[in-house]
Symmetry: C2
Subunit: 182 residues, 2 copies
């Protein structure tokens, strides 16, 4: 990669992170290009689709997922609390940007999605939590991590689109948790 290319690439990612934080994942890419001081063609050369750009932004985000799972597993107390703690971390992680919950959750069912690798990270982190619960004998028979991702992702999507506050979301997560535990 040429020096000016790398400079542009980095600048676009940096600006996109800022714009997406302000306006969500559906913000105008034209605006991103303008603010980054590059032509629209340059943006498209580096990131053929919006998802490719989102994927680049999420690079630094991967570490936080594992930390969140660690934190949940370090939790003292009954399995229900541990699961709920993970749920809240999970919702927070995919709700960092408006439109995130919908985008990430539907990417889980799309093998061709550019952000698929990020979804895998989420799944393996989720599996660590579920495995612990299984070992405790606290989890229902036949529960898959994909199902949990869809359920919690669904709650997060509704919360995101309806601008619900955490206090409103909490009881919804409790229902899901109770439905998953023995």
């Amino acid at each position: 990669m040429r020096a000016d290319a790398k400079r542009n690439y980095d600048r676009i990612v940096e600006v996109a992170r800022e714009v997406f934080r302000e306006q969500g994942y559906d913000a105008s890419l034209d605006l991103v290009a303008k603010r980054a001081g590059v032509g629209p063609g340059t943006l498209y050369r580096h990131f053929p689709t919006r998802e490719n750009l989102i994927d680049a932004i999420m690079q630094s985000w991967v570490d936080r997922v594992d930390e969140a799972a660690d934190k949940a597993l370090a939790q003292e107390g009954p399995p229900r609390d541990l699961l709920l703690h993970w749920f809240e971390e999970y919702v927070a992680l995919i709700s960092l940007h408006k439109g995130g919950p919908a985008k990430i959750t539907s990417a889980m069912d799309d093998p061709a999605s550019p952000i698929r690798t990020k979804c895998e990270v989420l799944k393996t982190a989720g599996d660590r939590v579920l495995d612990w619960l299984r070992a405790e004998g606290a989890l229902r028979e036949g529960v898959e991590v994909t199902q949990v991702a869809r359920l919690v992702g669904g709650v997060a999507t509704v919360a995101d689109q309806g601008d619900l506050d955490p206090a409103t979301v909490r009881p919804l997560l409790e229902v899901v948790a109770d439905g998953l535990l023995v």
Copy 2:
């Protein structure tokens, strides 16, 4: 309303129903106007926002909601089956058009939404089902119909956006049901 105005109004609603069925609720309004043979201004005169048009389309849909609740309540068997039956009817009703689950579920939290009256119909139908369960002593303490709408709406939204088939959705609804019942 003048005769030609009414003719245009009806024609737009009819065409919109068709276009939305083909392409979902996010289809181009320009296309609707073109197919209806009216100028874009005419469409905007009758329906200032997309939601106003969706609301008009949903007019005939209201009856089906009450029928669905009737059917669920006529169900024999344990409360869990009854609730799941209602859930499946609910998901089917709001998933008639692509984009419907997200639109309807988030309209529940928006007092200014033009389709709010339709949401109320859904809520009262849901309350009939919940009241029956409460009378049987089968429902958890403190469960609100709004929460149920969000949970099932969330599952429907994920299913809609990920093109999941009913067989995949069913276990998710079971988790929600189990979390809601005593």
